[in-house]
Symmetry: C2
Subunit: 268 residues, 2 copies
C-alpha cells in the first residue's frame, strides 16, 4: 500500500524528464523516486493525441503498480495532450505537471508584457500554456514559438555551440518582437540551454519548469503530510522501455549524477 | 496470391523512405507501390537492436499480408540492424535495401580513396556500410561519420539554411581529412540536402541510395520477370502507424507529389 515513504513517480517520453528528477532530488533530498522514460517510442512531440494518450496510460499504470504516492508528468507534450487522462487514472493521488508549474511561475515573473513560451511543435500546437495561463490570469497574453531543433541539439551535446546560438537567433526574435517580459522553457530539455539563452537575452527572466515543478511537489506533499519522514539515503530507480546506445551518457548529463539502478521494461 | 501485378512493398521507420518511393516511381512508372512508415515509433536511429527487430517484424508481416511481390527496406537503420531478419521472414520474395544498393554504387564511384559515409548514430555504430563494402571489395577503406542533427534539420525544412551549412561544416571535415573520394548519403533524409552538400564539397561524388535502390529493384524485377506488364495508372497506397500534424506536408516534400491514399494502421 501507498504511504508517505512511498516513492514519487516521475515519467516522460524519454530522458528529458531527468532534469525534473534532478530538481526534485535537490529540493527533496529524502524522497524515493521511481522514473519511467518511454525511450522505445520517444519522441512524443511529433505524434498524434490518440497515440500519446495510449502510451501515457501504459506508463501511469506501470508507476501506479509501484505504489507511488504522487505522479509527476515531467514532459510538456504529455502534460499538454494527456494531462486530463492522467488525472482521471490517478484517482486520489496528487498529480503534478511541468505546464501547470510553469504557468504559475510565469505569472509570478511577468509584469504586464506578454509571456513567451518556447517548446516542441506539439506542445505549441496544443496551446496548453496559453490555456493554463488564461485560466489563472485571463488578461495575460502568451506568445509561443515551436523550436523542433533544440532537443536534438541538446542531445548532441552542443550546449555552447555556434550552431545552437544561430538556431536560437532564428527562434527567439519573433518573441522579442512582441516584447515578451518572461520566457518559459516549455520543454524539459531546455534547462541545459539556459546559459546560452541567458547570453542571447540577458534581460528576460527564464522560467525553468523543472525547478518550479519540484517546488510545487514540495509544497503540496508537505500540505498533505506526504513527505517522507525518514532521513535514510533514498532509493532512485530508473525504468525505460529501451536502452539505446548513448542513453546512460545522455541521461547522466541531464540528471547530473550517475544512474545506478537502470532497468528495461516492455510496455504495450 | 502474389503475381507480377502485385505491388512493391516499401517500408521505413517514418517519412524518409518516401525518397525511395519517389525514385521508384520515376524509375518504374507502371509499378504499384504499398508503403508503410512507422510514424508512431519513429525515429529508430536511437533505439536498440531488439526493439528495432521487433518493430520491423510487424511491418514486414503487414506488407506480406498485402501480397507484395518484393520488399524494399527504405531505411538505413533497419537495413543495418534488421536486414537479416527481414530476409528470413521474406522467404522467396526478393528483398532490397538501401545499404546494399549504396555499397554497390559506392564501389562503382570510388577510385581508391576511402569511401565516406554519413548516417544516423545507430547506422554508423552498426558498421553496416563498412561490412557491406568489405564483402564486395575487402581492400576498400570506409570512414563513417554520425550526423544526428541532419534529420531534424531536413524535417524543419532548413534545406538551404546557414545553420544547416554550419552543421555540415562540423560533420564533413573529419571525412575530408581522410581524403575520401566518394560520399554515401547513408540516410533516406539526406537526398534533400544534396544541393547544399554539393556546394560544400563540389569535387566529391555523392551516392544517393534512393536512386541506387530504385535501380537495383528495376534490374532484379526484370531479371525475375516480375515487372508489371500492364501500363495502367498504378496504385500508390501509404500506410502509417500514426498521422502526426505535419505528416502530409513533410511527406509530400519527400515524395515530391501529393499523397492521396493515406491510411493509419496500429501495429503491435
Amino acid at each position: 500500500m501507498m504511504n508517505n515513504q512511498s516513492a514519487i513517480g516521475v515519467f516522460d517520453s524519454g530522458v528529458g524528464g531527468l532534469t525534473v528528477v534532478r530538481a526534485l532530488i535537490e529540493r527533496l533530498p529524502y524522497e524515493n523516486i521511481v522514473y519511467f522514460g518511454d525511450t522505445a517510442r520517444v519522441p512524443y512531440g511529433v505524434k498524434s493525441r490518440n497515440t500519446i494518450e495510449q502510451f501515457t496510460e501504459q506508463m501511469v499504470q506501470f508507476l501506479m503498480e509501484q505504489n507511488v504516492k504522487a505522479l509527476v508528468i515531467a514532459c510538456n507534450t504529455i502534460a499538454a495532450v494527456a494531462g486530463e487522462r492522467v488525472r482521471r487514472l490517478a484517482g486520489p493521488l496528487p498529480v503534478f505537471d511541468v505546464i501547470s508549474a510553469g504557468a504559475d511561475a510565469a505569472i509570478r515573473h511577468s509584469q504586464n508584457g506578454p509571456i513567451g513560451v518556447i517548446a516542441t511543435t506539439t506542445t505549441v500546437n496544443s496551446n496548453a500554456y496559453a490555456r493554463a495561463i488564461a485560466i489563472r490570469q485571463p488578461n495575460y497574453r502568451v506568445i509561443s514559438q515551436a523550436c523542433p531543433l533544440l532537443v536534438p541539439l541538446v542531445e548532441e551535446g552542443w550546449l555552447d555551440h555556434e550552431v545552437t546560438r544561430l538556431t536560437l537567433r532564428e527562434y527567439l526574435p519573433p518573441l522579442l518582437a512582441e516584447r515578451i517580459d518572461t520566457l518559459v522553457l516549455g520543454c524539459t530539455h531546455y534547462p541545459l540551454l539556459k546559459p546560452l539563452i541567458r547570453e542571447e537575452i540577458p534581460d528576460i527572466p527564464l522560467v525553468d519548469s523543472a525547478l518550479t515543478t519540484a517546488e510545487a511537489v514540495a509544497y503540496e506533499l508537505e500540505k498533505r503530510h506526504l513527505l517522507n519522514p525518514t532521513t535514510q539515503t533514498p532509493d532512485y530507480r530508473f525504468f525505460v522501455s529501451d536502452i539505446p546506445l548513448r542513453f546512460r551518457a545522455i541521461g547522466e548529463r541531464f540528471l547530473n549524477r550517475p544512474i545506478d539502478q537502470l532497468e528495461m521494461v516492455s510496455l504495450g
